[in-house]
Symmetry: D2
Subunit: 346 residues, 4 copies
């Protein structure tokens, strides 16, 4: 269970640390003959990259991907696709502060206990920078299934929540604002709040809703590899995620069966969709939709108690740049993991 691969049919293996040479991966199982749109892959990386707006971390990384194999004359060959995104922003930083300390709610402590030592620079392998590789693999997965639409958006930041269901929103507005929220009034509110949080050197969490349309009937396996179980695992593997619900989700626990059952239309579609497009673990052709909960990221620009490796509690002031709200940048990551999970069933 080494844990750096996801998927069986379309298997993605990633490597890389935030402050090493770079981030990369291998995609094994991509069908042959797909003419890749490289611009679109870069567009997805740009949606994830730091420094893209005033409300995300200001670290500058171009995040340009170089493909190393598996592509010939612009098309996938069916063999493994290696790729690499060099780190360009590795400052010769002074890490003496964090080298011997464990920051609260970071992976420092557990890495040290599990592996005996760690690459302490910027979080090493536990850095969210690893997700850049997922975005590449997801962008290709989307291109393999061009008829399926996967759209995620920010549905809450702190306690500012979009009240409308996705069916009443215009999802083409998602990219129109820095928060990636298609409810523009809420987006403005969220943006203001994030700026305020940023100013305080603090961070805040939020929720991403993802909607998948045009899924064929029959994807998913009935018992352990239910479609939503794989989607859930995919989402829970993203840094900072604390929860996953699909269809009626946690709110559905309060409903009666007579309210919750999705009655059929004569064509096999359903009148309601509390099931979230999945019944018995298998897609039924209706929209799949789910929510992903992100905690506030643990890096703060404030005084905070840390534990030293000699068992002392000391106070340090966080320095450098931080992400006051990781949720807008996580939107393309959620879409990427949804695409990867889905393609494994096709």
């Amino acid at each position: 269970m080494a844990g750096n691969s996801f998927g069986t049919k379309y298997k993605v293996t990633t490597f890389g640390e935030s402050h090493g040479e770079g981030i990369g991966g291998v995609i094994d199982g991509c069908p042959s003959g797909i003419a890749l749109d490289f611009n679109q892959i870069q567009v997805e990386l740009d949606r994830r990259k730091p420094g893209q707006s005033a409300i995300v971390t200001q670290r500058k990384e171009p995040d340009e991907v170089k493909f190393l194999s598996g592509i010939f004359e612009g098309k996938t060959t069916g063999t493994s696709i290696g790729f690499f995104i060099p780190n360009t922003n590795q400052k010769s930083h002074d890490y003496s502060d964090i080298k011997n300390t464990f920051r609260p709610s970071h992976a420092d402590y557990v890495y040290d206990k599990k592996y005996g030592f760690r690459d302490y620079r910027g979080g090493g392998r536990s850095s969210a920078r690893e997700t850049a590789a997922r975005v590449v693999a997801g962008a290709i997965a989307k291109q393999v299934m061009p008829t399926i639409s996967i759209q995620a958006y920010v549905s809450s930041v702190g306690n500012i929540k979009v009240e409308k269901p996705y069916t009443e929103l215009d999802l083409t507005l998602t990219e129109s604002n820095a928060v990636r929220c298609p409810d523009l009034a809420k987006a403005a509110e969220m943006e203001m709040y994030i700026k305020q949080v940023k100013k305080a050197g603090d961070s805040v969490g939020g929720i991403i809703t993802c909607v998948i349309k045009n899924v064929p009937v029959g994807l998913g396996e009935p018992v352990f590899d239910k479609l939503h179980a794989e989607l859930g695992k995919a989402m829970l593997s993203i840094n900072a995620v604390k929860g996953f619900e699909y269809g009626s989700g946690f709110a559905g626990t309060e409903m009666l069966g007579s309210q919750h059952n999705d009655l059929f239309n004569a064509d096999g579609t359903t009148k309601t969709n509390f099931s979230g497009g999945i019944q018995g673990g298998i897609s039924n052709g209706m929209d799949i939709y789910f929510n992903v909960a992100f905690k506030p990221v643990a890096t703060l620009i404030q005084n905070q108690e840390v534990l030293t490796n000699e068992g002392e509690i000391i106070t340090l002031h966080g320095k450098g740049r931080h992400d006051p709200c990781v949720v807008p940048r996580a939107v393309p990551i959620v879409e990427a993991m949804a695409a990867i999970a889905l393609l494994n069933f096709m």
Copy 2:
């Protein structure tokens, strides 16, 4: 991705339908030399079985497990453990009603589309009866890790919710009532409500909270196979589950980082535990706790519209017995899947 196995190191493969010969499984990877407590395995099965109280389905099944291999002189041999639970309650029922109809929010429709036909008797492989095999595998997993405590309980039914966190509850009271809720006042309320729902031939959902204590530091893999991602997949693979959250969960999205970060004590434990015992996907030695959301089961004893395989909508009255609230019986299943997922990392 055939989907009837869970795990790699401690791999559980299940088979069986609700109205066939029975339910069974194979456990591959169980350590050798474990002296099994067979009574305790039966106790866990009895916690799951139908007919155990007035608030669950009244179908009678003894659910006695027969071990077929992998055990010699009462101890595991390290080879694969085959087991079987015969179905004893297969009445020669009249299935003509459901043979040609798709019940709402059941797996009937998607099975038919995916496989071309289906075992229509009582849900076939999609029946929750499959979970009996999980309970066997989980009961053995618990015995392999006797120092780890895994305790689940019902924390809500409909909108009746236990308000106290698990740390303020006496979990030894869980089995004292039919609902498996350690808050006895709430338990009484829930029981009354479920009886009322049952009388109406309806069903209701709920939430199970699970607490795992004494987990060693270092379980879990950093990227895709994070400990909580595997726990999440394990839970989402249980019938009727719609959501999973751990630690602060969805509520954590409303917090600031400065509130959410778990400050260290000098011994490496933390003052708070919003992280839910897992940081960066790896256990930190604190309690692991999570919530699992169950929808109301779809089988009702009411009039309901169904779709025929000829594309007609007709009204049928549900018959037989039904589970007005599956949540109390799901408590041992949640514990079993938690044990199986955890053992895969040990």
Copy 3:
């Protein structure tokens, strides 16, 4: 790496010991809608079973398989197929001899060291009886791919060798004699030799050749999961196998490239077939053929030195029945594993 499963798409998991309740397995990934010919499955089991002729072990086992799930109205449902073959010949034997001794070239010693103790009755899990489960899974695999022909035969026993290549033999004669050798003159010689070996309480090895016809072009994956690598692993996983070669095999090492290269015909077939139907790990549509080497089985009815668990060397006389030449009975096992391996690529 618990090791009791083979395959990914068509995954076979087996369990059971020679002297426990029985032998069984689970097939996960069998396509739905296959109308099974149960007689044919029994025919394959009968080809493997003990007591079928004068030259194999005289232990009597009917080897009747009972299917427990995954089949409805005679057809596979696409869900997992559980099956069980009860042991009927478990005499209350006196095992005091072998309980505390390790027989030479058996698995006794390594099992004891690896697992701390063992089911000492008749070899436990290491018994070739386990292969009965493979035969069931292989018989079903054959029925899933009815257009592909898989035929194995005995091509040598001791130093009695069929000299002709398979292309010059009439493979319909294979089942006409107890040795399963289509060269009838050689078959008679082999049979006489095996009887002589049996009389001496000794055993002898041999080689099985397997021929697969009508394989579509394109099966196999180019790097690690080459078609012949999976076939090789499948064969090497059978008890008593010491070697595998395909196409020109070990003899091909003596050839020049200009002799060995298979020149094309205009239709893509080749004039020769030293490649054995596989190029670069991928089937090319020509016949696949390979050889599997079996050692003489270690159980003898002679005086033999054994090691006690107290570190003494003592002499015991083997008792009971033994298989003077396991090769004829291994023919259906080779075919079964070939079918299972192949189906995983289709």
Copy 4:
């Protein structure tokens, strides 16, 4: 079954084509804290690289590996190790000849049929250049298990065969000659023969023997994942391999059980070792030894018939450089795959 990964615990995934950017891989599951000897890794690569002697292909490639992740301050961190070996010898060659033709006994034809098109430059993914990545992963695996010795050597070329068993050879002489044969008289004979074959633009096959010493008792899983089955698969996945045998191998089929059984010494070692260090699929602590058969490589510098993609047979003269005997360069690859397979059981 995408096929570009080997192993579960120590999982190696490779990518790259002979004439693309380069060759690389990801190692997932390497233990943390291993201080790597980078020189030794380069030594292994140099043993495999082209141009190292007069009897191998004269293509020049430095084969320098760059590590991209998973190593910090010279030690493995326990996270995934990405690495890359750039291609430096990609001449802007004229491929018009081979673009539209299928060479005999190459993978051209099957790749084209399987994937619809192919990277026709120098064999693409089917090139033996891929094995450079295996050598890197194997060199690291060796360093993870420093007490285990893995030594391979050339035991035959064409029909020139080392007659002595490995126990009578001085394996420290293996690297003393270009053929990598520790029997110096035979080595000289082989070298002369290979030069003669080379001059004729032809190629010849051979056999590599591999010996593993100091293996702990108990490695391997009893049923499908027998130690020798994994070793066999590992070897059969190497380009040009046609066969695998361990211990007594094919010759053992001619022996009687009374000759073949390895009698015990009082300390659990055995007097003979026909078993090849493995009993019932599990290592018994004796030396593991096996043979790997390599066919003559298909690329010739001679006139040869090829098939065009328009279904014509034409004659082409092979051009460029070729490997008259791949076996000496395959010695480090056999060792690498043996190390990788073994580490997966530790």
